[in-house]
Symmetry: C2
Subunit: 254 residues, 2 copies
DNA sequence: CCCTTCTGCGTATGGCATACGCTGTTATGC
DNA sequence: GCATAACAGCGTATGCCATACGCAGAAGGG
């Protein structure tokens, strides 16, 4: 029953323990020639330059002038490396809301900060997520988001749900933007031409009798002009915050 | 200039053209021994049984009693097959809202329908999405979603944005649920034990001085009990629909 | 009846993650 | 000062994967 309850309860991958500053270098053996941060930095560099698909163990090793298998002395698997890349890729959270900021302004700032990171590093969206956040910086983002909701009438559970809702929205919007960007790079067209081209394609494909509502959208020219992506982002963000506002108002009333 | 402007404007992958019923079988040559739908069905079957990672061209071919390379006579690439798998995996849309349904009930039904599909087929979430929907059933979902907003004061563009917002939310929530499910399968723990275990892990990791807000969430026991995932889904859905409601109210007032 | 056009598929290429075991290094205990 | 245990770097090998290429044979059109 108390078999593996040394002191750490659940099992944490070694490289993640490293990220928390636990784990000291063993006393014996030769001095390591690399380091986990150096490997993660190299991997992030590859992803920034050539996308997540270019991140292979051999490519990262080449970047460091080492052999492929040498990396496995530092990270247990590629998945572990990816987890550390996400932590490093997000970077430090934007910090707690400045004093005097109300919850809505705070969360708006918080959402835009994630938005900005994801626009800079589309590859973060392509990392297959395997579990809830357990790395230091990820939890830093969560902490700062929660602080925005300090003083509101929401329960702790509702605060958490709100954050989940928001971060999910930001990721979604960024995913859409990245699809447009990658599509335009693949076809060679300008990004501003992608939506109109999509609209034209749909207009050819759909039968107005079977898709009347879609037809009306096309006729209204919604897909013909390319909107400012930031406006689209603001639209959804305001919708969500309006919804949160409605809940806060209700909670405060009772 | 008018080089490849035969009649079709933008280029559509052959297998996608097939999905729209365009494209007739060539008059010459041997009769095909397989068919695109048979291949897609087999691939969907593999994904249902063993997950998306198990879907390889050779595995699908084996399932059909054919050689790997035979598939490439029907689909241009694995990505094309994946696009068709998504179309088939979603299945037909739930249909237009029943007469007399208001927009909110209609969208709620629509969101739950996607929710149900994604819960049944987690692998849909792992298909890397490469562009906006262009397959028939996908557009059917979009059409039925738009119809829910018929008669509201929203602009066509706002209707589209609302749908995007909703479908993004549903996918997000399903992603979270799939992570819990896969995590519990990997560790052997019961799904209901995953969140409490996560809570305990965080409690050990975080320094209360650096993560006070998170600490408060933990202390409130938010992560200790496992909530009904459907309640979590309903929370976010209601928040978003409240936000849409606020916008509709404002549009109607002016 | 032949020739074009198609299907099925064997083979080969170049990528990938990673298990395993060897060689050489380092600090500790004697 | 030396043996030894614990470690670092990494060469090799295994078994996946998508897919380019080209050949053999089938089927219909002229």
């Amino acid at each position: 029953m108390a078999a593996k309850t040394d002191d750490s309860g659940p099992v944490l991958p070694p490289a993640i323990e490293y990220a928390w500053g636990l784990r000291d270098r063993p006393p014996k053996g030769p001095r390591p020639g690399m380091s986990v941060p150096a490997i993660v930095d190299a991997a992030v560099g590859v992803a920034d330059a050539d996308g997540l698909a270019a991140v292979s163990m051999s490519r990262v090793a080449k970047e460091l002038g080492a052999a492929t298998m040498a990396l496995y002395r530092y990270v247990g698997s590629k998945d572990e490396l990816l987890a550390l890349m996400v932590d490093a890729g997000y970077g430090p959270s934007p910090g707690p809301p400045p004093p005097g900021t109300d919850w809505r302004a705070g969360l708006t700032r918080w959402a835009w900060a994630e938005h900005d990171v994801l626009r800079q590093r589309f590859w973060l969206l392509h990392v297959p997520i395997t579990g809830p956040p357990i790395t230091p910086q990820q939890l830093g983002w969560m902490e700062d988001g929660l602080r925005c909701l300090d003083g509101t009438a929401l329960t702790e559970g509702e605060k958490m749900s709100t954050l989940l809702l928001l971060t999910g929205y930001v990721r979604n919007e960024a995913t859409l933007a990245s699809q447009i960007a990658e599509g335009s790079r693949a076809t060679g067209a300008k990004p501003s031409e992608m939506m109109p081209a999509y609209g034209r394609l749909l207009a050819q494909l759909i039968d107005p009798a079977r898709f009347p509502a879609l037809q009306r959208v096309l006729a209204a020219g919604v897909l013909s002009q390319d909107d400012d992506p930031d406006d689209e982002f603001t639209f959804g963000l305001d919708r969500i915050l309006d919804g949160v506002d409605a809940l806060i108002g209700r909670r405060a009333a009772t």
